[in-house]
Symmetry: C2
Subunit: 651 residues, 2 copies
């Protein structure tokens, strides 16, 4: 996308953004000190690191031991490497780099002469190579390794992994495509599409973009490739375990899609890839498709915490306005993938509404995937919880399983390195630039080094965001420079004040941004105050599960009630429309967070009874007032086990 | 159970009760004219009738075509025969009897010399005979055929089927038991226990009771029989598909159970069988167990419509106070089995509280299993519905599947003949007798012929129950007779008036019954008026899913709102605590039913918006008053497709 002044709009690289304090400074420190090492330790303990040395042409014979979950393994190494790379880009660490280099050497050693790279199939199931694109994740693994390769090249300048993945990409392009003799395959789990566009941007080599375009265009075409490959395996396509190609967004050619469908992580990675291809090719039809899917998802299928995919059954989407709370799946990876897609949508169609969704997904349904300690993870992110109770019922006797308590690892551990790489790369989401326009997207305590038409400028941003709406940006530059500062006014903010060097400013608004255009001098101070009152969120009247309930939000942060603060039976708690709601900074809670307090009522029968059902003509309710305390949703389940609710009855 | 006067308490046989009009007269006519023929037609169409002629010693060789669902088939024939027998007992029908006789001949022909009887294993899987009691339903089928045999013998005096099943029972007793050389097996799906007690009562032969007692005592003992038979099949017990023997109430010896557990149909049939064994053996420990399980189920795990088993996953129980509405399973068979159990509990422990639950289950979660037309059936009976929406999500693209619309048949059609046999035998639930005490249990328009200490007496009951609480009972007898009339005061009734021959009576109450003891003369008129206002039902404060909501009940009948009467978005409908609620008889609706009307408010945002979430500071609600109409829950989904809700927000 180019802006009216002809300059390409792009994120400002995280390598230009220094984050050392504030909300994200703290989160990044925990990520470096705890999360990245903890995940690497799990990769080692589970054999994932060793699997690279056991694969490859130098290591016959194959064991033929077939283990389903191993088909995902390579992606876990990829995502960890990517997270390590982002961290190295801003916080060099020789030991971490040496660990990464050793892993990259092992990966290189596992590559076959024809470019094929995978730790599972050559060792365990050679005849399965490329035999089941629908289920087997070979391209998904390739995509994650490509993202790692690009990030590592950017962070360290080392191109070994980039070259490995370029060869693997060439192998894929030689195997799959529309040309005579190639198979018309595409991945059951999309992800490689966006990764190939990253490869293209990093290398400038158009063959990567062409492969991404092919994968987008071929998806869902008739005759259906997954039917064909099933028959080739001697399986009936009707016996597809997922029942429908909607599950993998392949039920129709992509350009005919009108709704977000199926497995929500697959969907959002795919949609991000489509936006990337549209960005690079200028394909207007893909832009139209992206907007249609975006509007469907954000108007019909997005939870208030930015989570997507209510159903455990397909790990994905169901239908418009279906928002179960306690049983919500809302995989951590899906929220992260939605943030990725949102970020791309902004660059395709520069409007703050995309960044609003990105921020909602990051601060709430993504961050909740990680414990405050940094070494426990959620896979699902429900909007209500009754621990000791599995939402699937006592039937599944494993009461926790990462649903009510975070856990150090998963059988399929896609979420832990995903939240780690998001945090390590959070600087990438702070600014975008198009020529002499600088977009300030996610407010955070940082500084950014910019090149604006050849001039160097540093902006120093000071803020307690998201706990406070005051942001101060100070310029630091050798010479006066003309540029536009586009300051995002979030969708939750109805009142703001802006000054430059203490002088109030009236700035024009353009698609959700205040545009401050002037010649800037070293030491100029921009002060923006975003009013951040506590808001009661009303759900759409077609959402049946939360009718008559409100959620509490302040700034981009969604809140919840936990039993540890508010006692049990949270379903009986009511917050009156008239109740005053207060935000207070609690310096002792999780190193300092804002909490929300106010008066609530617990409405319960006036007299205890063992009866399941009583008649209102013979029994009455009493309302007990109490001072409630709501904490940020993303921090739930970091203290005592207990109930949690986002949506609270209102009256 | 014997009462204080030493006379055994027992139901008055349905053969003594004539029902020709009123609520049940109409339901029985539809059952005879539509339901019984429709089910027989399905048994024929699906090959179930023909399967008897293809089984048996005269019909080798086996086909070895293994089809899982066929293991249940014999029970479908059994339940249809049982329903036909009840109908023949009160409404003779030569054609129906000839059809039943022919089926019984075929069943007899399928029996092997050693007594074994099953249409599946000998033909399709001979080596599977008795090899998997946990899963394979051979005893379950036997039990349903025994119930049919007893009913048919009672109805027609013909004992062919009774003799067939006695031989089958003897085969089972020769194969399973604690004696040397026998296997210590018992059925994965209980049902045969209660059937064996019926066999005992009908024949007086104690060996049937002994077999029932053995099956109750052996269940869940260690070493576990299902572990052993799994290993004998070469399967690891850990690979049990249902994960836990809780599923089939075999995780512990029965006397150690403290909660209703697992698959709810299995549970309630088993508990009914336990009560039957306790009744016949006087085993105090089984009486204690029955009370413990009853109290758990009715205080923690019973829906307001008398349904049990919230979870689709195990078709059964989950945990205390877990009452999801839209996703409630509440199988029709489970409500019927609960009614069976309740009826037995009364005879074990004569208290009206059991009959209250029986009536709740029959009028609501059982009857909802059948369409008004008599030929469509529900398997699940949820408390809220959003048609076009499958509660499992779009994932399962079959939107109906008997969940939102009744269907003519099921892959596993246990429910259709179950509701049919309940309706055909409803007279059995009207009266109980212990010597000269006559309990009037379910009020219904009928007449009953009694023998009281050698004297014949007929009671003629006239009532519009359940639409009206007025009941008139007129005696019809040749000579004056002393007896006690025990008139049940239902748990929903807080005010009643009683008169005999127009004279008001003050009668003593004993465990929920008014006791009228006198010398009765021909033509005496007892008039009982049960006040039947519309009641708002309050859920227990630990039921999180319906907090802040009420259900509407009048007499034993639970009501619901349907979209066809009240428009869509029923989650936004609120009924004020102050709103007057009116009951009115609507003669045009389903042949005449009482409906409930009143003022409700639909609370929705004042201004339409496509936004999923809005802030209350910027948007407001408006309340639109409208006249709502609630219809009996059991009649939902007999008109236009649309939303349905039992639990309505209150304010």
């Amino acid at each position: 996308m180019t802006t009216s002044n002809g300059n390409r709009l792009a994120p400002v690289s995280l390598r230009q953004v220094s984050i050392d304090a504030g909300f994200w400074g703290e989160r990044q420190a925990v990520n470096r000190d705890v999360t990245i090492p903890a995940i690497y330790q799990k990769l080692e303990e589970t054999g994932r690191i060793a699997s690279w040395a056991m694969a490859g042409p130098a290591n016959p014979p194959p064991s033929h031991e077939r283990i389903g979950v191993r088909v995902f393994w390579d992606s876990d190494s990829g995502k960890w490497l990517e997270s390590a790379a982002y961290s190295l880009a801003t916080h060099p660490d020789a030991e971490l780099e040496a660990t990464a280099d050793a892993l990259i050497d092992a990966i290189e050693g596992a590559q076959f002469d024809d470019g094929y790279l995978n730790t599972y199939f050559p060792v365990h199931f050679p005849e399965g190579q490329w035999a089941n694109l629908r289920d087997n994740h070979e391209m998904y693994n390739a995509g994650h390794l490509m993202e790692a390769a690009v990030a590592y090249h950017q962070a360290t300048g080392k191109r070994k992994l980039l070259d490995v993945l370029a060869r693997f990409s060439d192998h894929i392009a030689a195997t799959f495509g529309t040309e005579e003799g190639k198979r018309r395959g595409y991945p059951g789990h999309p992800e490689i599409e966006l990764a190939l566009v990253k490869m293209y941007r990093e290398t400038g080599e158009k063959r990567f973009l062409d492969l991404a375009s092919y994968l987008v265009d071929e998806r869902g075409q008739a005759p259906h490739y997954y039917d064909k490959e099933s028959l080739d395996r001697g399986e009936s396509p009707e016996n597809y375990w997922a029942q429908t190609y909607r599950y993998c967004q392949a039920h129709l050619p992509l350009r005919e899609h009108t709704e977000a469908n199926g497995h929500s992580v697959r969907a959002c990675y795919l949609y991000a890839g489509i936006a990337d291809v549209a960005l690079e090719t200028g394909d207007e039809d893909l832009l139209r498709l992206s907007r249609v899917l975006w509007d469907d998802l954000t108007r019909h299928q997005m939870y208030v915490h930015g989570g997507v995919g209510p159903s455990h059954h397909n790990e994905g989407f169901t239908f418009a306005y279906d928002m179960p709370t306690e049983t919500a799946y809302c995989e951590t990876c899906a929220a992260i993938a939605l943030a990725f897609w949102a970020h791309r949508m902004f660059h395709l169609d520069p409007d703050s509404r995309y960044i609003d969704v990105m921020e909602r997904a990051i601060y709430n349904s993504s961050l909740s995937g990680l414990s405050h300690s940094g070494d426990h993870f959620f896979y699902a992110n429900p909007l209500a919880a009754y621990p000791g109770i599995n939402p699937q019922g006592r039937w599944h006797e494993d009461m926790d399983g990462g649903h009510h308590r975070r856990t150090p690892w998963f059988h399929c551990p896609c979420c832990p390195p995903n939240i780690s790489r998001l945090i390590a790369s959070i600087g990438e989401y702070a600014y975008s630039q198009a020529g002499d326009r600088i977009y300030v997207q996610m407010y955070q305590d940082n500084s950014v080094d910019l090149n604006i038409g050849g001039s160097e400028a540093r902006l120093v941003q000071e803020t307690q965001y998201p706990w406070d709406g005051s942001v101060r940006i100070t310029t630091n530059m050798a010479q006066n420079t003309n540029f536009e500062l586009a300051l995002r006014i979030p969708d939750w903010c109805y009142d703001h004040q802006l000054s430059v060097n203490g002088e109030a400013q009236m700035a024009a608004t353009e698609r959700g941004y205040l545009i401050l255009s002037r010649e800037w001098t070293d030491g100029d101070k921009v002060e923006l105050t975003l009013a951040m009152p506590v808001e009661r969120v009303m759900p759409h009247p077609s959402i049946r599960q939360t009718a008559g309930q409100i959620a509490l939000q302040r700034g981009p942060v969604l809140y919840c009630l936990e039993e540890v603060d508010n006692g049990p039976r949270l379903a009986n708690v009511c917050i009156s429309d008239a109740a005053a709601l207060h935000a207070a900074f609690d310096a002792d809670l999780f190193g300092g967070v804002s909490v929300i307090t106010g008066e609530a009522r617990r409405i319960e029968p006036a007299e205890e009874s063992s009866a399941l059902y009583r008649h209102h003509s013979r029994a009455s309710y009493k309302a007990s007032e109490f001072a409630f305390k709501a904490v940020p949703y993303y921090l739930w389940a970091n203290r005592d086990r207990g109930e949690m609710r986002v949506w609270i009855r209102s009256s």
